[in-house]
Symmetry: C2
Subunit: 317 residues, 2 copies
Amino acid sequence: MTKDYVVGIDIGGQSVKMGVIDRRGNFLAHFRFDMAKYGKDDTELFLDDISKYIRELCDKVGIDNVQGVGIGAPDGNYYDGTIVDAVNLPWAKGKIVPLRDYISNKVGLPVTVTNDANAAAIGEMTYGNAIGMKNFIEITLGTGVGSGIVVDGRLVYGADGFAGELGHTTAVRYNGRKCGCGKTGCLETYASSGGVCQTAREMLETSDMPSTLREQNEITSKDVFDAAVKGDKLAISVFEYTGRILGQKFADFVAFSAPEAIIVFGGVANAGDLLLEPLKRSMEENLVHLWKGKVKVLRSGLPESDAAILGAGALAW
Amino acid sequence: MTKDYVVGIDIGGQSVKMGVIDRRGNFLAHFRFDMAKYGKDDTELFLDDISKYIRELCDKVGIDNVQGVGIGAPDGNYYDGTIVDAVNLPWAKGKIVPLRDYISNKVGLPVTVTNDANAAAIGEMTYGNAIGMKNFIEITLGTGVGSGIVVDGRLVYGADGFAGELGHTTAVRYNGRKCGCGKTGCLETYASSGGVCQTAREMLETSDMPSTLREQNEITSKDVFDAAVKGDKLAISVFEYTGRILGQKFADFVAFSAPEAIIVFGGVANAGDLLLEPLKRSMEENLVHLWKGKVKVLRSGLPESDAAILGAGALAW
């Protein structure tokens, strides 16, 4: 007999967000905790803590009413339920962390794991802007750049469960930025929130353009966005540059799986048309003629804080 | 009641190859005709000729014993059976050619159409080096560069039936070569037989390296191969350059669908290790660490002239 609730969990670079969800996607309870305290030696501490928080959430509806736990995590593997060398998570860098089995043992519920971007894609097709779409790509633009690729209504996992690492395809071949993954020129180094900040810093250094960003010591991608909204030309140029690079890569992604739409999600996507207008122009310029004017670029239809939780939860049914 | 034979057809830039095939992949009859005579106004002539040749082939086993016709063609669309603006076929450039319906009416048999590279992929998984593989990518390196992407045992067709145009992803971003598709820097302009020749011509012009290729007026990719086999350093450099570009792109393709193997097929792939050794080195350098040392690069296990015919035929069962 299936039960009435699932727990959905979104493990991100900065925090873990979780919720108890019913069949219609309503949240019965939310919980969030910070990642900062978990260093490279705290893998077990993290696993124990998250297990404890899951139990506490389950207690809100009674654990006997919970069907299972779905987790979206960077470098999460659907096939074996591990996290493998997640460079943005100190406690999971250079390691294989048996997320599914450890938590399942501690909590006493079935656990399913996938990539955080795959979870967002599942959320999008269940509750967001990809309802009814059989072929689309979800691109998450946050601390990292991830992707969930849906072909014929199903997520692409590939031979090993790690398909869809589009943030680590090469965007800039010569003099590309050094990526946390060890390569250079990865899309992530330009289109993540850190990439946007680096572009801003580089533009501030190499131009004399006046900018309110010059008054700040530390620049966040939110600062760049706020400045751009107020008409700061340098900040606007940062998103034009980011959009141009994303558009070039999106054209390549279209040539791969011919999606109906590419859906962008996450902090950097909140820049909206400041990012999407140059992105779409650049994608159109780089598309094979077959697809010109035919592939939509959309923002996620889900509230940012809930998309990956909803998607992860949907995995658990 | 299913019948004992199918007709498989491979429409290429230079010739059309066709055969009557039984369930085990044995050929009962072969036929080949040349493309050179069909210009831009000869679409109907081509369709009438191919229909006539199909009938003649069917007569060898009796048309009542033929299940159907499968056709692999550049820019062939599985969903609606058309060829859409195939730049390497003068009679199909800038047009939508209703291949399936026209031939089916003329011949009186069901006809199925797909991309020629998809047909090669189906041939590979049925009779070649991808038997038992659920996730692989077939890359055809011939007059054009095509691809058939298999995910979870099924070909990726995408929203419109045209997925897998990896020859038109961008390999070289700045000062890239002009492609027949209208874009610049497409992989096809470097890794097709014409691309290999252009690389040879450019190297001959820009270097003083001695080479037997300097004695020739017209250079074919076969000439470059023959020279390389004999130790001609410039010719060897041509394949190193081609392999390096292919390897960079293969690393991106792996990040997309995490295949078990990428299988290369076609004229340029016949260069064997002259191409594959630099290709594999370059791919490994560009792979995300997750996949380093884990993804095979293989040559097709099918005789070049038969792979696409066998694959196309398999479509017709």
